[in-house]
Subunit: 331 residues, 4 copies
Amino acid sequence: MRGNFFGKMLSMTTFGESHGVALGVVVDGVPAGLDFSLEELQAALDRRAPGKLRGTTARKEPDTPEVLSGIFEGKTLGTPIAVIVRNTNQRSGDYEALKEEYRPGHADKTTIMKYGIRDHRGGGRSSGRETLSRVIGGYFASLVIPKIKVRGYISKMGPFVLSEAIPKNLWEEFSPYNFPDHSKTEEIEKYLVGLKTKGESAGGQISVVVDDCPGGLGEPAFQKLKSDLASACLSIGACVSFSYGLGEEMANVPGSIVSQSSANFGGIEGGISNGERIFLKVTFKPTSTLGKKAKAGRHDPCIVPRAVPVVEAMVKFVLADHFLRQSAYSN
Amino acid sequence: MRGNFFGKMLSMTTFGESHGVALGVVVDGVPAGLDFSLEELQAALDRRAPGKLRGTTARKEPDTPEVLSGIFEGKTLGTPIAVIVRNTNQRSGDYEALKEEYRPGHADKTTIMKYGIRDHRGGGRSSGRETLSRVIGGYFASLVIPKIKVRGYISKMGPFVLSEAIPKNLWEEFSPYNFPDHSKTEEIEKYLVGLKTKGESAGGQISVVVDDCPGGLGEPAFQKLKSDLASACLSIGACVSFSYGLGEEMANVPGSIVSQSSANFGGIEGGISNGERIFLKVTFKPTSTLGKKAKAGRHDPCIVPRAVPVVEAMVKFVLADHFLRQSAYSN
Amino acid sequence: MRGNFFGKMLSMTTFGESHGVALGVVVDGVPAGLDFSLEELQAALDRRAPGKLRGTTARKEPDTPEVLSGIFEGKTLGTPIAVIVRNTNQRSGDYEALKEEYRPGHADKTTIMKYGIRDHRGGGRSSGRETLSRVIGGYFASLVIPKIKVRGYISKMGPFVLSEAIPKNLWEEFSPYNFPDHSKTEEIEKYLVGLKTKGESAGGQISVVVDDCPGGLGEPAFQKLKSDLASACLSIGACVSFSYGLGEEMANVPGSIVSQSSANFGGIEGGISNGERIFLKVTFKPTSTLGKKAKAGRHDPCIVPRAVPVVEAMVKFVLADHFLRQSAYSN
Amino acid sequence: MRGNFFGKMLSMTTFGESHGVALGVVVDGVPAGLDFSLEELQAALDRRAPGKLRGTTARKEPDTPEVLSGIFEGKTLGTPIAVIVRNTNQRSGDYEALKEEYRPGHADKTTIMKYGIRDHRGGGRSSGRETLSRVIGGYFASLVIPKIKVRGYISKMGPFVLSEAIPKNLWEEFSPYNFPDHSKTEEIEKYLVGLKTKGESAGGQISVVVDDCPGGLGEPAFQKLKSDLASACLSIGACVSFSYGLGEEMANVPGSIVSQSSANFGGIEGGISNGERIFLKVTFKPTSTLGKKAKAGRHDPCIVPRAVPVVEAMVKFVLADHFLRQSAYSN
């Protein structure tokens, strides 16, 4: 009820403050008998981890997952899978100075409005660090739907705009910045370092393609697939928009044109997957740049590259949840 | 679990096919002792009702609500409030011809994928008619949060684009088309009739402003206020995008500029309402224009004018739900 | 959240006051394509209906169900099934006299404590009449689990005590009083009429046997099958106890004896069905006998005979829900 | 959905196998700003801990809780509180022999039926060890309802039967065996040691008294207070019955007598607390006594003494949850 729970048949309960003892997640509803790989889980976390990319946060944390339950002899037991990641880089010094500092666009002020108290050592529950729980959830979701392919990428970040909605090299490996055009990698790095130097920040857009998703996922009224995907994406800290298919462009194109290509519907008709490629797009706002926390350098000038695996994880989670839901009724 | 349930502390369970006996909703969680007005409920439904505007669907239904429970001597009892609206305009003739007709972008095909069966007399659960349940829900939500003001309006439809994000006459009455610029009413009417004549359709954008919303609503992780608002809006049939604050523009504006005005954050920081004006925007796609159903004339060439009260209702519902949630913890 | 919702994959939302316009239920999660029979639904309601048995309430209501949605051409659509039963026998006269009358053991007083308002024309939501929604739910549950056999019967009522825990004629038809020993029917009738004459009331016990339930239903921690069955039964108005297998006798028998027959575990081990016969027992308290409402004669001196189909319905509902849950994970 | 989640406004998600890395719980919905005491949490766990009482299991585990989140500077943050307890006493040797051993009345066999796989090193999720998560949950529940007093005690165990339903020394300290008659402590110890020597086991009954509970808690239909209390108690491993007030005796006493004392209704009328003393009773079956695991001595011959704090914890949790629910609507 306090919003730390996501999903129905596949669910995750997340916990942890950015500067507390640990963050973690309890993933429930993973069917029994699936193969678990700690290496793959670590690899999933590494894609999101800070301190790996030039131009991102200076905070370096190894993000080592510890599996506490639900796995036995390399297989899922069907019981809840608890995974924690300890915060090794806790703020030890004097953080009283941060107590009254409210970053614009951030949860600092609203957390006090809501709870009357907050862990002012960092972003608390509203820190980007919370997203590691989601990445863990996404890893387990991918075990549930091994045949469904999910790929996120940056379609826009500062001056970098992808020329096509869907890149040709979609299923090949991207640079760690998750921009499909490899020729831009160096420029991106320079751009991000430049932002950081200036104390500036930038937002951007991430697109996600889902292939090989079966038709029939999603409910016809409130938990439409698009509705749950939107909820999932907007639950990520800095995400400010969600659209699928033609998206906002739908306001400009007449129905006769829209109907000419089923791709315009983004793989979802009547809120239910139609078996075709799913296409969605989200926008992230620039990170908050003011205040002592920002100056201390422990922030990303642009969260977008590291947000890609988080968006992918949330999309996978929604699909896996709906896959299980649909299975219940279609035996 | 089948997605006909929405909300936590305030919830609605909706039911009904567009060409079945009746549609309706069970609204639960409305506190006891609130004043109920059948006239106001009827007025809310009338704003959504078909057949009232030139240029909209020819289907004429009175949409008369019948309250079955939860109200006694003009007051809410705190028990579930069931309201039904009978379908008076049922298709009586031969509808076998529609059985195999799948409208593009519509649920016709995906309903079969999902259930293997559908009520092919009409859109079934995926009909726009389902939204009357939401309008009823929104009416009761407004009883829960009488001080919070919610206003939706068309910001874009075909050639009609509102010049300002938020119109000056926001709290005055708009034309029935819900476009704030009254000088355009006749043109809009002509435009919609024109679309209909051509068998064409159009999408558009709806903006919503919320004033006097207390701070502290929304949860910090998965059920962020923005997340639940997105889910609510995207659960409306033809809605294809959601954004709040600067929205997609956030991908273009540097953080230093964004931070200069708190309005850019759309009243939500860290996923939690900050006590300022909330601003959000959604896009609707053009209605499906092909096929016999469309030709029969019982459709809207542009759903946007009638969608405004539906979007408002969903926004109110989310706010009322979060208002009650927050009340539980802040005594 | 206000407790009018029951179940997960198969759920029911109930509504209605005993003296309001109608009572009803929205059953959701019934798979698509199942055969629906209005006659069978009516028959299920008739088993619970008042006014059919001598010695029960004088209130005569036909309890005619009207199906509003979710059924098309005799089949379930997979969409929510709304069914209502109108109250034809509404109290028309002066009921102000009842406003301050609180029956002992009844919800009259606590409803005021909770809501500050109540529909004092009758029991409101807490009336036994509310159970007709459950019987409707149970009918649809039986469509989901056609192979599972559920049978309830009176094992004790006043001086009538069944000599065996499980009668030999278990699957044969009982008398309308639901006591398996047919030779007692006349005596029971006399007994109940006698109670009524004296203004007395009695409680009793109902046992339920479930055969052909597959193993593996129920969750290992909080939603154990026994836990959900207990919740289901105790949610019936006058039910005051639940036990399964040996029940309270387990406090008297040493483990070595208990282990000798698996029947002692009542078909549930570790909270999960083991594929054997499930056996459970519930106790109902005597109905409230004081006050004007009782004197008016519109009450049952003993609710137990009419409670049998209600207990059966709730048991079926739990089993069908868990059947669907388990299906989701075991494909 | 897999039954590891309990509660609405106050909820707990539990995880952990008895012989895995750790067990734990995520408690969500605890209001912000409440005082937390690690000592009191440890004391709560110690009441349940094994190896402290002669005549109970030989398994000795310190049960040291580690708080991972949700607490800052000794106060609750309003965010999810994750607490884990590591299993220090893991089975290191050869446990293959246990793979095919199914204890009667235990989850061994049904776990395989359900999941097709199990952690055969011990009881897995169905181990009594799982209850430590509940005790932690109960501790946090007690922070939410500091004024409500909850006391459990053994009313029957083997030859030891409490002479009164509610002992006079109710709010004084009992012996660690939780039997209110102190004069029996030595006999109880002898009895339990004797059981163990014989390889025998016993069940028993636990009664719970709740004082100072406000009226109005519990919902009128499905989530009646009695319904949720029953669900909570029956979700404890070996619990086989639940009753409140007069309980099964209600089948023997005529209504006129029952009505004479409101205590017979056990503090709950119409499913809602009436502000009077709440009284309930549960039965536990004897522990499984067969098989190698039993012989290895790592079991309790009678779980009842250690079950008392677990039952108390579950009762507290239900009350705290309903307290928060009711708060939401009664502002």
